[in-house]
């Protein structure tokens, strides 16, 4: 370590020797102790700029950004299985609901239709029997 190297390191890395390359720490400290009158102003000058640079702070990440990034991450197989199960359950649910709706329609609407048919005589089993008896049996064939 000499004056030029000490100055180069302070100019590059700032006034805090602990932030200089690790290999230079011990020599730099020894040099600063041995040449304090020259070295301390050199470090203080660099430290003044360090202090200014520290005034530049960046706001923490927005929650929405954190969430967008987290959601884009790989999913565990378990989560995939859960997702597939949910999708399957969803499709099953739709089919079940469709069947239930069909059964409901059958149960709720058919009697009404039958009842309507009964009312005008179209669906009355008794009428069918009577029609069967009224119509002549064709015996010429066979």
């Amino acid at each position: 370590m000499d004056f030029a190297r000490f100055r180069t390191l302070a100019d590059a890395y700032g006034g805090d020797v602990t932030r200089w390359p690790a290999a230079d720490h011990d020599m730099a400290r020894a040099f600063a102790a041995a040449h304090a009158v020259w070295a301390q102003p050199c470090l203080a000058d660099a430290a003044a700029l360090d202090a200014l640079l520290r005034q530049s702070v960046v706001a923490p990440p927005a929650r929405a950004l954190r969430e967008r990034i987290t959601v884009a991450a790989p999913q565990t197989p378990a989560l995939h299985r859960a997702w597939r199960w949910l999708v399957g359950a969803g499709i099953g649910g739709v089919l079940t609901a469709a069947c239930a709706a069909g059964v409901f329609t059958g149960v709720a609407v058919a009697p009404l239709a039958l009842a309507e048919g009964y009312a005008n005589g179209q669906n009355d089993p008794a009428n069918d029997a009577a029609r069967f008896l009224r119509e002549p049996i064709d015996v010429t064939e066979g």
């Binding site: 590059a12 890395y13 390359p21 200014l52 960046v58 927005a62 884009a72 790989p74 565990t76």
Partner: protein, 185 residues
């Protein structure tokens, strides 16, 4: 034979690659503020900053399942990805504006810029933004991201001596640009 790189993030990256959501959250909590700060200081106050951070993480998520422990530090790799994304945008800006990149910005103290003195942080941000890209990158990596000199030089693809030269010139330019503030700190 290449030496195995010790990486404090190795276990988290491997877990995240397998979809462990706690590891994902830990990596986001630990790395996102650093990436955002890197992009902010490289690009200035721009909507592109969040895009860079998000894109870098999406690349990391794609890469995590194939991460090979011991080859590189995840933090360094993530910095490289983010820096590449920043440089893509800086090049695009220069293409659009048609301006050549500034090769030296050392304006020195100027009394008429005293109106900015109320907001030192903003002044520092402006002075950083005015630096040539490589000087700014060197200062951002070493001073703000607190990377070691060998790691920073490796990231920038330069020798340690070249890194020190970029740092010295960058700091000299900043000292000149912020000279009117130095006495008040």
């Amino acid at each position: 034979m290449k030496e195995r790189v010790a990486d404090p993030d190795e276990a988290l990256v491997l877990l995240a690659g397998r979809g462990d959501q706690a590891a994902v959250r830990a990596l986001v909590a630990g790395k996102l503020p650093r990436l955002l700060a890197l992009a902010r200081r490289m690009l200035g106050d721009s909507a592109e900053v969040e895009d860079v951070a998000q894109e870098a993480f999406i690349k990391a998520w794609r890469f995590a399942p194939r991460w090979r422990p011991g080859e590189a530090k995840f933090d360094t790799w993530l910095h490289r990805v983010a820096l590449n994304l920043c440089y893509d945008r800086l090049r695009r800006r220069k293409r659009i504006s048609g301006e050549p990149p500034p090769d030296q910005v050392d304006e020195g103290p100027a009394p008429d810029r005293g109106l900015y003195a109320r907001d030192v942080g903003r002044r520092v941000g402006l002075a950083l933004a005015a630096l040539p890209d490589r000087q700014r990158e060197a200062i951002v990596l070493c001073h703000y991201q607190e990377l070691g000199n060998i790691e920073a030089a490796d990231l920038m693809g330069v020798s340690v001596e070249a890194l020190e030269s970029l740092l010295s010139r960058g700091r000299r330019a900043l000292r000149g640009a912020l000279a009117d503030l130095a006495a008040g700190v």
